[in-house]
């Protein structure tokens, strides 16, 4: 049957990854992949997906960040129960870290198929840019700050930062886990401990964010891949972005280590969040479609798709049992961190979309204005504390 899959993987690397997935799906099953890409970011695409599901015209499968985004839809019984598929394939055995599967689980039933792990805590650096400025490529946030004047002198943008809310809040969160550490991160977002939130560490993080605002001044960037592109061109030095940025580097023919560098947690505590994308399968009346849905769930979690998809997209596979010897240095770094168990839950798993959205608005406003770090910090506390 035709299976319509909606997603917002439209940048170069992402599209290539989808291409792989679709190819494997069509090869391995006799179903048909109907692509329903929605351009823009998740915040553009999600409303459309949600309204279609609510409106009773569900697609066959759809991307969500797993976590709380789709929880209500699941609760409302709008999502296909995948427990049987999961048990038959022994998902519990190979999905690593297990928190991924947990995020798909509600009341003991499984409702989604995780497809990749996304860690947003990466800082990417352009070797060409640092070379042009005559400094060593920065490996930490502090080094970047130090190199900034030299970079500026060479006409290079120290930090390529897209101004959209999700990108600016990504930077904030990377700083929280990188500068504050895993416990701090959990205490702030999972426990929502007011003391932690009001702590000096958090205040300092906001001040660092203010510095980041300065370092990104003059970039005038909005889309993340436009920012990555500045790194590829060598006109910007660094970008804090998820592992998917690697897909753009790969597409541009650059290789990790020689053309670009990477580090986790801005060179601070190397924790990666194990959020990522998952595919949900809205309940569908057509049995043929349901059939295809189950088939896709199997394909997604299968080793072949995991390798091909994640290699193209630059993200980490969800399987602990596949051999990724061919991966590049950066992916290797991610895998090692993962293997070391240095994982933290993703924001999506801890905060509602509402709270997350408000944090995004706050950081967007922060970057787009001269809002003081102090005030922003205060508001940040209040937003997190108001999470219901």
């Amino acid at each position: 049957a035709d299976l319509e899959v909606t997603h917002w993987w439209t940048s170069g690397g992402e599209a290539a990854a989808v291409q792989e997935l679709a190819r494997i799906f069509e090869e391995q099953t006799d179903h048909n992949w109907v692509d329903g890409a929605i351009a823009g970011s998740g915040s553009t695409a999600r409303p459309i997906m949600v309204s279609r599901i609510i409106g009773g015209d569900p697609m066959g499968a759809t991307q969500f960040n797993h976590g709380l985004q789709a929880q209500e839809l699941v609760e409302a019984g709008l999502m296909q129960d995948l427990t049987e598929v999961a048990e038959a394939n022994g998902w519990a055995d190979f999905i690593n870290p297990p928190s991924l599967l947990e995020a798909c689980t509600l009341d003991g039933r499984i409702y989604c198929a995780p497809i990749n792990i996304h860690s947003p805590q990466w800082m990417w650096t352009s070797h060409a840019a640092f070379e042009a400025a005559g400094v060593e490529p920065a490996t930490t946030w502090e080094e970047l700050k130090a190199a900034a004047p030299a970079l500026r002198n060479a006409g290079i943008l120290p930090l390529a930062q897209g101004m959209q809310g999700w990108q600016t809040s990504l930077l904030l969160n990377a700083m929280i886990s990188g500068i504050g550490g895993a416990d701090f991160y959990l205490s702030a977002y999972q426990a929502r401990d007011e003391e932690t939130l009001r702590s000096d560490t958090m205040r300092q993080i906001w001040e660092e964010l203010a510095i980041a605002r300065e370092l990104s001044q003059g970039g005038n960037l909005s889309d993340w891949n436009m920012a990555t592109n500045r790194l590829i061109e060598g006109t910007a030095a660094a970008q804090v972005m998820g592992d998917w940025a690697q897909g753009e580097f790969a597409l541009a023919g650059q290789s990790a280590g020689s053309d670009y560098g990477c580090n986790i947690g801005l060179g601070g505590e190397p924790y990666i969040a194990t959020g990522g994308d998952a595919i949900y399968f809205p309940v569908n009346r057509d049995e043929g479609v349901s059939e295809a849905q189950r088939a896709l769930a199997e394909v997604i979690t299968g080793p072949e798709a995991q390798v091909a998809f994640n290699a193209a997209k630059g993200s980490l596979p969800i399987r602990g049992d596949i051999d990724l010897t061919e991966v590049n240095a950066c992916t290797q770094l991610g895998l090692e961190t993962l293997a070391a168990g240095n994982t933290i839950p993703s924001i999506d798993m801890m905060l509602s979309s509402d709270t997350r959205g408000q944090i995004e608005d706050l950081t967007a406003e922060f970057f787009g204005s001269d809002l003081g770090a102090e005030d922003a910090h205060e508001r940040h506390v209040r937003i997190v504390m108001s999470e219901m």
């Binding site: 409302a76 101004m163 005038n220 509602s352 979309s353 509402d354 608005d361 706050l362 787009g368």
Partner: protein
């Protein structure tokens, strides 16, 4: 042939009533029903799915304490006032220019109105391109030798409203021009003659005689422009996406983002209820004004 009694009231005109069913349904179900539905749910804590879980005015309290909403309202006010004034001023000026018995009037009018035929998405893309700092006006300015020339409204929170205005007026002022021109043309030729015989110069005639006579036409324009301002959404999405930061956010976008993106329907409904209230605040006085006028005549 002759019937002895009157037919039942309900069935008088039954065909008309039947034919008007789509209108009645639209009016009742869509415009009244959906609006009420939205208002009711704005008092609930609905998140991704509507739930009748009333929380009183909590959503409104939060709405008005949210900086983004405040910025949105502020933007809308600034954009609204400027857009209203500029659109009316430019529209009237253009209408007056077009009314001077000029040659190629059709040509000029075509030029001024054509953007109205375009989608806001198209307008947004075009202006994004023109205002692009690397290729557009700033680039031109710099390549003409003014190396420090800076004109980058799309990335300057203080100027971004100007970018919206330039694009909005580009698209919308033509409509105002055409309406005002029709209004000017509707004015009795003899009034002009009378003013000339009285020796009143043309500009004075326009300002002291014609302008006051066009009050109803201006009222129509104001309502149309205001309705457009409140609905302002597509242009923002296409041109700035609310950025830089939240510098160009508008209420309609807030509603949309909260309803779907942030999965907080209650909040989105509260915001849309505020917009509904704003619309009523514009329309009701206008309707009263019109009805009042009808009664006098």
């Amino acid at each position: 042939m002759a019937r002895s009694g009157p037919p039942l009231r309900l069935f008088q005109n039954w065909q008309a009533k039947l034919a008007a069913m789509p209108m009645i349904l639209t009016a009742l179900v869509i415009f009244i029903g959906c609006s009420l539905w939205t208002v009711v749910y704005s008092f609930t804590s609905s998140r991704l799915l509507p739930r009748l879980d009333f929380v009183g005015l909590a959503q409104y309290e939060r709405l008005w304490s949210t900086p983004r909403w405040q910025v949105s309202i502020e933007n809308l006010a600034v954009y609204g006032v400027l857009s209203l004034i500029l659109t009316l001023a430019i529209g009237f000026l253009l209408a007056v220019l077009l009314d001077q018995k000029i040659r190629f009037e059709d040509g000029f009018r075509t030029i001024i109105l054509f953007p109205y035929a375009l989608s806001f998405i198209v307008t947004g893309v075009v202006w994004q391109w023109i205002l692009n700092p690397d290729f557009g006006l700033q680039h031109i300015g710099r390549s003409m030798g003014f190396s420090t020339f800076t004109f980058d409204p799309l990335n300057d929170p203080n100027l971004v409203i100007l970018a919206l205005l330039a694009a909005g007026i580009w698209q919308g002022a033509g409509l105002t021009t055409v309406i005002l021109l029709a209004g000017l043309r509707g004015i009795d030729e003899d009034v002009w003659k009378a003013a000339r015989v009285d020796g009143i110069p043309a500009w004075k005639t326009y300002i002291f005689i014609i302008l006051p006579m066009m009050k109803p036409v201006f009222a129509t324009c104001i309502v149309l422009i205001s309705a457009g301002i409140i609905k302002l959404y597509d242009l923002v999405v296409a041109l700035t996406r609310g950025g830089p930061g939240i510098a160009s956010e508008v209420p309609a976008k807030y509603v949309y983002d909260y309803m779907f993106g942030n999965q907080n329907l209650g909040q989105g409904f509260a915001a849309s209820t505020m917009m509904l209230a704003a619309v009523l605040a514009i329309i009701i006085p206008f309707a009263l004004f019109r009805m009042g006028r009808k009664r006098h005549v």
